[in-house]
């Protein structure tokens, strides 16, 4: 499974990983804390925002996307776009069914 042939020695120091690790642990703590607050609809938004930040950290640093090729960045972008379409359009249908005919 090789797709970047221009594989470089990823010399990012383990310090980055430690930082990411700590940030992720903090994220877990934060989500648990946030879920105990009563924020109404914002609960899910806050929780998802934290989750996306965490995922972003992992993707960018642990998975080296930040230093990855343009192709990788593009394809990740494309994938999230398509995923967004899937979730968004299905939700559009299911939510708007309740709106009645007009």
């Amino acid at each position: 499974m090789s797709e970047h042939s221009e594989h470089v020695q990823s010399t990012s120091s383990p310090l980055v990983y430690v930082a990411v690790y700590l940030a992720l642990l903090a994220g877990v703590g934060l989500t648990i804390a946030a879920s105990h607050l009563n924020l109404g609809v914002f609960n899910v938004i806050v929780v998802l925002a934290i989750a996306f930040t965490q995922a972003g950290l992992v993707v960018l640093y642990s998975m080296h996307l930040k230093r990855g090729s343009l192709l990788n960045k593009l394809s990740v972008g494309a994938c999230f776009f398509v995923l967004l379409i899937l979730v968004g359009m299905v939700l559009l249908d299911c939510v708007s069914r309740a709106w009645g005919s007009w």
């Binding site: 992720l24 105990h36 989750a51």
Partner: protein
Amino acid sequence: MWLFLLTEVMFFGGLFTVYMIYRNWYYPAFVAGSHQLSIPMGGLNSVLLITSSFTMALAVWFAEARKKSALVLCLILTFVLGVVFLGIKGLEYKEKFEKHHFPGTHYSLQSFINPASDPVAVAAGDKALPQDTAQRTELFFSLYFAMTGMHAMHMIVGMGILAFMIFRARAGAYTAGHTQFVEYFGYYWHFVDIVWIFLFPLLYLINRH
């Protein structure tokens, strides 16, 4: 490898879509279902998986730095953390089976119709749900089992590869410059971690106040 992970994203994406819709429709049932899940266990699992992801990242780094024993140690740590994660998951599953929260013919609504009978529900301060709402908790548990099950399946596959890698790493296979396999496996393991990062708040942490 990235492209392969993207297919995985779409695979789980389908599940998340289903989850989003039902959560939107049957929110009270999802809250009650979520309260049946144990935050300490789920939280501990989060920590475990994040740690294993960390050790995996270190493993990649050690492989590139050509430090064999450190690499093997990190891989073993990753593996052990994975085993513990699955063990805890197994305990959680076992509890659900005993309470008949596994969807299907034996599904029981007791904890939701009559929360007083269930210490977990009492602890969460759940009120009794009307029967029709309670029935929707089955959907929650369906999705819970489907999503965590798929996730666990990915972990089991990953740990199979991990075992193979430990074996090869001890023979010095990855510390001679060919680190790509370790690196790609690392991507896979991080992906599994990311899925859990989303699963944990979405399943365990619905409306805990």
